[in-house]
């Protein structure tokens, strides 16, 4: 098996996945649809794992989402080419999938794939883990997996880091307060731009500030706003202000309340939050 020396502990699932990918790589008897299904499931599993991270890796998410799209497109084209009725080859073939069936989970293969019939006998040699791991994945499932991970990555944009987040070295020279200026270019102006620099717009604020009404900026003094911002309905009931979050949080710019609900802090464990509070309070 590939990956000798891998330090991570393999859970049962991961072990079976590793076995599956070895089978993919080494076995010639795995049919194309089966291989595709395997890859698809791996992709979706990865996307799901990334969604649970506070900050999914954008590069990997995009690559995996593209792979899912590619498979999705292929499967759509196949189902468009063939009639929707189940190909007769499948019914008898299901008997030779002895050992393929496991309670409650059926292997869904796109109908009408020609090679299926010739390969169905070979599938008897496929290990059990395959059928346990491959789940029905619909076109909608794929689309929603893609959009959900990419939407999560969009969250990152709505709120820019506050200007107070600047690391300090001991010999820090005084430098002008960085307000995160980004010179945004008005694309319409580009077409007729005479002067390159004339089309630059020095924006005097971070993007998140633009989203807020001017009054919102001053609402951070009101501690009751933080109670709802840092509350995640499934995890915590609305908290009373007794939690010692008020004082340190007064120094932070406020969140846009609508995006606050999407804040992935919802995923932060209670214990992590406590830990953070300890650091802030200095205890």
């Amino acid at each position: 098996m590939l990956g000798r020396g891998l330090k991570r502990k393999l859970s049962d699932y991961e072990e079976s996945m590793a076995g599956l990918s070895s089978a993919f790589d080494s076995s010639r008897s795995l049919s194309y649809p089966l291989k595709r299904q395997l890859v698809l499931n791996m992709c979706l599993t990865k996307l799901q794992t990334y969604k649970m991270l506070v900050e999914p890796n954008l590069h990997r998410s995009v690559l995996i989402a593209n792979t899912v799209r590619q498979i999705q497109e292929e499967m759509r084209q196949e189902s468009n080419q063939q009639p929707l009725s189940i190909c007769p080859g499948i019914a008898p073939a299901s008997h030779s999938y002895a050992g393929m069936e496991s309670p409650g989970i059926a292997l869904q293969l796109p109908s009408g794939v020609g090679q299926q019939e010739s390969h169905c006998c070979d599938l008897r040699s496929v290990e059990d883990p395959i059928e346990n791991s491959l789940l029905i994945v619909s076109d909608d499932d794929m689309s929603s997996a893609i959009s959900s991970i990419l939407k999560d990555l969009d969250f990152v944009e709505d709120i820019s880091p506050p200007t107070c987040l600047v690391p300090t070295g001991d010999d820090q020279p005084k430098f002008p307060e960085n307000t995160g200026l980004k010179l945004e270019d008005d694309r319409q102006d580009l077409k007729g731009a005479e002067c390159v620099f004339g089309s630059f717009e020095i924006s005097n604020s971070t993007s998140y500030l633009k989203d807020l009404a001017i009054d919102d900026i001053f609402e951070d003094i009101d501690t009751s706003m933080y109670d709802s911002d840092f509350c995640c309905p499934p995890l915590m009931p609305p908290r009373t202000p007794s939690l010692a979050t008020e004082e340190p949080l007064k120094t932070f710019p406020s969140c846009n309340s609508s995006s606050a609900n999407n804040i992935q802090i919802c995923r932060t464990d209670l214990s992590e939050l406590d830990h953070i509070m300890e650091i802030l309070v200095g205890s």
């Binding site: 590793a18 690559l63 987040l165 690391p167 010999d171 390159v196």
Partner: protein, 444 residues
Amino acid sequence: FLGAGGGNDIQWCFSQVKGAVDDDVAEADIISTVEFNHSGELLATGDKGGRVVIFQQEQENKTQSHSRGEYNVYSTFQSHEPEFDYLKSLEIEEKINKIRWLPQKNAAQFLLSTNDKTIKLWKISERDKRPEGYNLKEEDGRYRDPTTVTTLRVPVFRPMDLMVEASPRRIFANAHTYHINSISINSDYETYLSADDLRINLWHLEITDRSFNIVDIKPANMEELTEVITAAEFHPNSCSTFVYSSSKGTIRLCDMRASALCDRHSKLFEEPEDPSNRSFFSEIISSISDVKFSHSGRYMMTRDYLSVKIWDLNMENRPVETYQVHEYLRSKLCSLYENDCIFDKFECCWNGIVMTGSYNNFFRMFDRNSKRDVTLEASRENNKPRTVLKPRKVCASGKRKKDEISVDSLDFNKKILHTAWHPKENIIAVATTNNLYIFQDKMN
């Protein structure tokens, strides 16, 4: 072009290894970037713990003319600290993603180091003298009673033990929403670019509160996102030209004179896909992990998962040369996808000869002229100085010959992602997970 020497291939010898010996790698010690300065006298490494370690080559010993100077620690400093973004509840990693040296203008050295979000300009200066003989202060710093001062003297500089100090001179922060993957200093030596997954910004080295956004590929609707920026570099001679590579295997060359926002490329380099190699993982392995210009600027080199390609800037539709780094992995892509190795970002460098890393602590060299290639290993087993490295061979399939290693025995945790080539001499720095190896050619 170095090392041609009548068609003889370079013979690489072990010179030094830096770093901990134990197998248990401390996370913070993982080397994340390696870079020689413009003269080659200094070699900087950055690690996952946010530290920068600079090695200096000692002056050549006249009596030991058969070896070049050794590299010894010159300065160590904490470049970046871990941060916590309270608003997004995210940790900002202190890992140093890239280091780039500025050319030396005076006695001090300057380098740019960056983590995911913040770039810093560091000044490294030496102090080997200190003033002595103050009138109002004792040597230990205590103030003298002014009434005891009867004569005046002029303080003089006296030699002291060399002290190397690193101080942050500029902090370029808050301009990147996504993770910075590249920084590149312009040939004007006044500006530089920083690239993250979706945007590239242009900075002036003196100005920290403002940057120009020159590339923005973020779609209005993130669900339409299909491509990210993976690397960017300025042209070595033309200060208005830069390239950036993408996760789809394309390279775009942009000219900043054409428009303020370089969303329309001047050139697009892309090789059509080879249909016989098509697989589910084709796109993933086409993602470019590094792009480097040649010294002349006529060519550029890109690294994707399995190969290194040389492009002529005048030809957009295909590379002029392609080198297979570890083609034997093509049949293992599913396993490599499963364990995430397929996302490893290998860098490449060249000095006439192309060099790039692989797994099992192997690294590969390709001689563009002779078309010969060699696989070498960075391992402490070969650590007698001036021991010539023995070429290694991976057996893809079939009967494994003696001294060959089979693909399934490769250690995929031992990856060489970062390598650097001395700008003037045949000295190479190769980073394994937490060790830095220095090899030099066998001088006769």
